[in-house]
Amino acid sequence: MEARFRLTHPGFTLEVDLKLPEKGVTALFGPSGSGKTTLLRCFAGLSRASGGRLVVAGQVWQDETQGLFLPTHRRPLGLVFQEASLFPHLSVRKNLEYGMKRAGNRGGEGFQACIDLLGIHPLLERGPGHLSGGERQRVAIARALLTRPRLLLMDEPLAALDLKRKGEILPYLERLHDELDIPVLYVSHAPDEVARLADHLVLMDDGKVVASGPLQETLSRADLPPTFADDPGVVLEARLVGQEADGLSRLAIPGGELLVSRVEAPPGKILRCRIHARDVSLALTPPLQSSILNILPARVAAVAATDTPGHVLVQLELAAGLRLLARITERSRAALGIGPGLAVIAQVKSVALLA
């Protein structure tokens, strides 16, 4: 996927030039006002960027040098908005059929699979007014998918939901992530959602792309601007290998193991976990007596300043090329003589499981 847009509003300029993977979830992440939603609207054709160019799955949707601009209704895309956007005058079933009919999916190909995937079968004959916020979003996602889009755009689909509803819908989004073979652009300002769902990360600030790359790699960069570095941390994929007798679970990561609070999942299951930089401390020798269970040998790759005075961010490389971030004080850094190339021991105080 190739996207190049330049758009000027009074006091705001969006200027991006992106190459994105054709598969998987790409998160557009950034503070409010950074242009995430504007960028999404450019993809959708709801905003027209002069000098824009957009190629999706080999098809040119926009190329202003040739005066080509497909209007939204001619683009094979699915769009899910922040707030529930079901048509209130139609039942759930009619809402689903609205897009299916117009996208030439009269036969209802994939209908059953889609309503099973999103668990909305019991809701079909109801009116949107009788659904909870989470149910409405699931129906909106199904409605978008049933048009058989080549690109799914989601604009903070969970932002309007309370914590409980979020928890209710996230598993469905994860199933979507596993089963969908089209690219998804997911706008969010919630780090946890991004860590859970995304494969690729685009960081935006003030209308510009600050960083774009695979999620794990991008999150483990130590040189991101302070906007993104107030709670840095990496995301790892780990495989559940076994349950311990004392209530812990053993996870395998490339070149090591992690012990975490018990996870109820079948062995072999791939789990995403997040390790915050503030939960990683460093030592020069393996501690002999410590309450910390997860101790990993690592090598310092880089040291960067943070926006908190007296603290630095240390980028570590584990045995198998995995990266961790550790946030330590400048005083400790100087006392231990930490600098690029030094072998250290990373002590991980806690591992947050995301799924």
């Binding site: 209704h73 039942s91 978008a144």
Partner: protein, 224 residues
């Protein structure tokens, strides 16, 4: 009720029905444009549509009389088309009433379109509906409460007009003599019994219309 009263009632209902129908057809595109445009013309056009709200009906009637009269541009046009001239005919009355009741129809529809916002149209576009398709399949059904209000107000306002009708329609029984004018005649002629019949009927009618309007608003909301 005597035959002339009955004729006046019948003519009034016929006029109000035709005018309401025409206003819904004409007012919808105007309301849509006013609700969605960012053009500089929005202000001036909106003001022109709203003029009948503040102008004395006689002012409007006077200008329409001039425009549609034998020497006015509209009058010249209708004459050259072989339609004669419009003042003191039923079609003339219809045109005058359409102008006079326009804001009562355009504004509720415009409000409904504005309340709907851009989002439903964007959603429809993302589901492959062309703008025209989305207008009929989404915007019109969502604005339905506005249309019902517009129809009720347009109808009732046309029934209740007096000044414009007197200026344009004159007072020709069975042709342009509507209830309000007929009532005026009865009072002039001291026929208070007949006048009571018509006046009481108008009060009851207006009350029922407003009851329907406000009762419906209180019930509002969607139940597909």
């Amino acid at each position: 009720m005597d035959a002339s009263n009955l004729a006046a009632v019948w003519l009034t209902l016929k006029l109000a029905s035709v005018v309401t129908l025409l206003l819904l057809l004409l007012g919808t595109p105007i309301a849509w444009w006013l609700a969605r445009t960012r053009s500089w013309w929005k202000g001036p056009v909106g003001a022109v549509v709203a003029l009948p709200l503040v102008l004395p009906p006689t002012v409007l009637g006077f200008y329409l009389l001039i425009l549609m009269g034998p020497h006015g541009p509209v009058g010249q046009l209708t004459q050259s088309l072989g339609l004669g001239i419009l003042p003191f005919t039923f079609p003339g009355l219809v045109i005058a009433s359409v102008c006079y009741s326009m804001p009562f129809v355009v504004q509720p529809i415009q409000n409904a379109f504005e309340a709907m916002g851009e989002r439903p149209m964007e959603v429809a576009a993302s589901l492959r509906a062309s703008p025209r398709d989305a207008f009929f399949s989404v915007a019109l059904p969502l604005a339905r409460p506005g249309f019902v209000s517009a129809a009720i107000l347009g109808f009732a306002h046309t029934v209740g007009e007096f000044g414009v009708v007197l200026m344009i329609g004159g007072n020709i029984p069975g042709k342009t003599q509507v209830v309000s004018v007929q009532l005026y005649d009865h009072v002039e002629a001291m026929e208070y019994v007949e006048a009571h019949g018509l006046a009481g009927g108008m009060v009851a009618f207006s009350f029922l219309v407003l009851l329907a309007l406000y009762g419906r608003r209180r019930l509002g909301g969607w139940s597909p």
